[in-house]
């Protein structure tokens, strides 16, 4: 067996070693269909031969646009097999965003899901002279299209099977030619600032990282995961391709985006990743459902959850717990915890991770007290995900863990976190300048995040984006994201944007959570016609004010950030949206764009007025534009007296 230095080689090993084990499952027509590793190898080979038949050259780029489906994972490995570079693209991107990525990487071919994606490509095709072929998976509605440069995916596989004799030697040559330092995949960063950048990751990056992280959590071929996060995101590539091929475990694809919860419940994965938002959302749903349950069930839930919160995490970490407490916990486990885990599709979960944003301590503790080994990690596309992660039994809500195996960390004087690892990316595609800015000659990469290593535990703590950390006019430290996260821990608050750099005091924009607040409105017979109307309701404003004041009280006890208390706030009249460019596709706030777009509101927050009228342009899902007008009420929030001993800022 050749050395395992590329994904196609791992595939060959898996087909031999785990031939009869399931590699992929997808629910279709109400039934879970599955493909073994041997069948997967056949499917991928057929497609790879088909790509050769079309005339794909080594080093060319293939854009892949669709939701998580086996066909797209196969397409990535087929591309690698013929020496091409797969470039997964966010499937909900608008045509303009896709045009940028395809143009930037000079994609030769696009493999897409359905008519919707084909339409987007056709719309921008004139600007993409390099794009020669489109392959699509779902044939529905495609009959009337001009098929001179368009082929159904399955037909390309048929072409490949038919042409096996002609192209097999070439396929073998290209597969064997793959070097450990050749490009494995190119992923575009979501672009919190400016245009997305193409991160080139080599086979070495992906395979070394997958190997180390699989060993860290003792992952085996027996794991099972649900692939539901965007394929263009590095995490999905590492979990569903890197680790899955390294360990040989099964990747399950949901029936549709809307059936994810149900499919999760059916599959019961053993290894699970979700952003904090997901864990929050599920608690919101659970809480709403419990409020509708019978008094008996509510009582049981309240009683045993309280006990689980006390002893659950300790039992999970193997600490000593009194005998009676254990008995009570065991009863609660049977009556409440186990059914809850089952409903959440978490019955079999051995390792669960969350990352990407800070997670609320209550949310984190809730899942751990249910008996789920939820941990945090800190990562980046540029690091092939893993920078730090929490080992079992050293899990806390406010840290992101110790350096992952093979990763070195250092904190610069400015507070910015730097790392160096085998997973460090090769370069930003066609952007030597940015590469040099991010990665120095010794291989140290700037994360752009400010943080510090906690002396007592050796764990890393992240405060904020380094460039967002600033100072108030008084010189006190200003860390907007830290405050925003505290606000977002309230279920009623979906999103928050805090202003204050070089100002006298901090202010905030708030987005309410329509699920949570809408449910509250329904219970209290408050009628509302739209998000805007609910957001402007005086009682909603008072509730939000209560939350803001609570955050202020908690900030007052923080020695570094007591200056960040929020003096004034308003509830925005629209939800911040990636389609309007206010959030990235991974839902991170684009601070600068929001500041410019709503500059009239920011002005009003600082000039003392108690009302402001505004008009905002919005983009609908189909790309059309409209505008909404609103008059927003600005409220003053009480600030708390600083109780902590204030450190001199910047000392």
């Amino acid at each position: 067996m050749p050395e395992l230095t590329s994904i196609p080689r791992l595939l060959a090993r898996n087909a031999e070693k785990f031939g009869a084990r399931a590699a992929y499952r997808e629910k279709e027509f109400g039934i879970w269909q599955s493909w073994t590793w041997a069948e997967t190898a056949d499917e991928i080979e057929a497609l790879a031969l088909g790509l050769l038949d079309i005339g794909l050259e080594e080093g060319e780029h293939i854009a892949i646009i669709g939701r998580n489906r086996p066909q797209f994972y196969w397409a990535m490995v087929a591309a690698q097999s013929v020496g091409a570079v797969p470039v997964p693209v966010y499937q909900d991107s608008v045509a303009e965003e896709i045009a940028y990525v395809l143009d930037h990487c000079g994609a030769r071919m696009a493999i897409v899901e359905d008519q919707e994606q084909v339409d987007k490509i056709i719309e921008i095709k004139d600007r993409l002279p390099g794009l020669k072929d489109i392959l699509y998976v779902d044939k529905r509605g495609m009959r009337k299209y001009d098929h001179s440069h368009m082929t159904p995916y399955s037909e390309v596989q048929d072409m490949g099977r038919a042409a096996k004799g002609r192209h097999e030697a070439e396929l073998n040559r290209r597969r064997d030619a793959a070097d450990y330092d050749d490009t494995c995949v190119m992923l575009y960063t979501s672009g919190t600032t400016g245009r997305p950048k193409g991160v080139v990751l080599s086979n070495r990056n992906i395979i070394e990282t997958s190997k180390a992280s699989a060993e860290f959590d003792k992952l085996t071929e027996a794991e099972s995961i649900l692939a539901y996060l965007p394929m263009a995101w590095v995490g999905d590539f590492i979990f569903s391709v890197g680790q899955a091929y390294w360990c040989g475990f099964c990747t399950n694809c949901p029936e549709s985006t809307a059936t994810m919860y149900e499919n999760l419940h059916e599959i019961g994965p053993t290894y699970f990743f979700a952003p904090p938002r997901y864990f929050e959302e599920r608690i919101t749903i659970l809480t709403i459902r419990m409020e509708d349950a019978s008094a008996w069930k509510r009582g049981m839930y309240g009683y045993f959850m309280k006990h689980a919160a006390k002893v659950g995490p300790k039992i999970l970490d193997g600490e000593t717990v009194g005998f009676m407490d254990r008995v009570k916990h065991a009863v609660g486990n049977v009556l409440v915890l186990r059914p809850l885990r089952n409903r959440a599709g978490m019955s079999n979960v051995r390792v669960a991770y969350t990352a990407g944003e800070a997670i609320g301590p209550e949310i984190f503790e809730f899942w751990r007290s249910l008996g789920i080994n939820l941990k945090q990690l800190y990562g980046q596309t540029e690091a092939s995900v893993f920078i730090t992660q929490q080992p079992d039994n050293e899990v806390r809500a406010d840290t992101v863990g110790v350096p992952s195996p093979g990763v070195e960390l250092k904190i610069a004087e400015s507070g910015e976190v730097f790392y160096r690892s085998p997973g460090v990316f090769v370069e930003y595609y066609k952007n030597a300048e940015s590469t040099a800015d991010t990665k120095d000659a010794e291989g140290w990469v700037a994360t752009g995040d400010a943080g510090f290593i906690e002396e007592s535990s050796g764990h890393l703590r992240i405060i904020d984006r380094a460039k967002d950390v600033g100072k108030l006019a008084s010189g006190a430290l200003f860390a907007p994201k830290y405050v925003e996260n505290k606000l977002k821990f309230f279920p009623n608050i979906l999103e928050a944007v805090v202003h204050g750099a070089d100002r006298d005091y901090c202010t905030a924009f708030i987005n309410i959570d329509l699920t949570a607040v809408g449910n509250w409105a329904e219970r209290n017979n408050i009628a509302y016609g739209s998000y805007q109307e609910l957001a402007g309701h005086p009682e909603v404003l008072s509730t939000v004010q209560g939350h803001v004041e609570e955050v202020n009280r908690s900030l007052a006890t923080d020695e570094m950030l007591s200056g960040c208390q929020i003096h004034r706030f308003l509830v925005l009249h629209k939800e911040l949206d990636a389609d309007d460019g206010e959030l990235t596709r991974t839902r991170k706030v684009r601070r600068k764009i929001i500041g410019e777009k709503f500059h009239d509101l920011v002005t009003a927050l600082y000039d003392g007025s108690d009302k402001v009228s505004t008009e905002t342009e919005v983009t609908y899902e189909d790309g059309r534009k409209g505008s909404i007008k609103a008059t927003l009420e600005i409220r003053d929030a009480k600030t708390a007296e600083v109780t902590a001993k204030t450190l001199e800022a910047a000392e």
Binding site: E28, F29, G30, R140, G141, R143, K144, E262
Partner: protein
């Protein structure tokens, strides 16, 4: 284009076959009220045919005549080359005509899946006792029927509500479930009574997409009634216009749009 001459090709290049259904001089009266008076038109194999007209023009009555719910006092209904005798609605259904209703008529307490399964009723051959025991051929039959239903669920993208009781669904989705049930019968002719009534723009766009895809993918002939003129003009190959029970126009959307009688009926005219 002479639409009456049998086979023709549409503007978007679809081949339309010969006459599938022909209504000849239909007159329908309720006591002294004449709902439809002396109307003739035909529906070709594979086309999307719309019936439009102001409120009370007799559109739904016409659809009820086609589906066998009303029996006209005068006139003949020809279906696939032979004259249709007075039939019960279920007999018409067995001939391959399925419909949806203006006011949704689903079983609220049953799941989406079960509702759509009822559409397969005309394809069930086993006797009831065998079905109740789920034994022998009945089992194989149900599996085959379920497979067909799953294809439709996939087609209309309603996997996520497969097990949800229909009564809990929002309006737009109920409409889609109703369409699914009609499709489950694998109809030759699909009758849609105001498929977009009460929908918002996005739901209308989705529904239009589904109607076009059904026609394209399954080759189903569709006859629909609709109020929204924009939708009708975009969707249909030919349009019949009714007013006060009479036919005042018949032709392609462009022809109908230019017809003075139609303009008068919609915009009103001084008498």
């Amino acid at each position: 284009m002479n639409a009456m001459a049998g086979n023709y090709t549409t503007a978007d290049g679809r081949q339309i076959g010969g006459v599938m259904m022909e209504m000849k001089n239909i007159t329908l009266k309720f006591g002294g009220v004449t709902a439809i008076s002396d109307i003739s038109f035909d529906v070709h194999e594979g086309e999307i045919r719309a019936i439009i007209g102001p409120n009370g023009a007799g559109k739904s009555s016409m659809l009820n005549v086609i589906s066998g719910f009303y029996h006209p006092q005068e006139g003949e209904v020809w279906f696939r080359g032979s004259k249709r005798p007075a039939m019960k609605p279920y007999e018409v259904a067995r001939q391959g005509v399925a419909r949806t209703f203006q006011n949704i008529a689903l079983f609220d307490g049953m799941s989406t899946l079960d509702n759509i399964m009822t559409g397969r009723l005309t394809h069930m051959k086993s006797p009831m006792w065998r079905q109740a025991l789920w034994w022998g051929k009945a089992e194989a039959e149900e599996v085959a029927n379920r497979e067909q239903v799953e294809k439709i669920i996939d087609f209309l993208e309603i996997q996520h509500i497969r097990k949800t009781p229909v009564g809990r669904l929002p309006y737009g989705l109920k409409k889609r479930v109703e369409l699914a049930r009609a499709l489950a019968a694998e109809p030759k002719l699909l009758l849609l009574d105001e498929p977009m009534a009460g929908m918002n723009v996005e739901e209308k766009e989705d529904m239009s997409r589904f109607i076009l895809d059904v026609n394209d993918e399954f080759g189903t002939t569709i006859c629909l009634i609709e109020h929204d003129m924009g939708v009708v003009m975009d969707l249909s190959d030919r349009v019949v216009v009714m007013d006060y029970g009479r036919k005042i126009g018949d032709g392609t959307p462009d022809e109908v749009r230019g017809n003075q009688d139609v303009i008068d009926a919609y915009l009103g005219v001084e008498h």
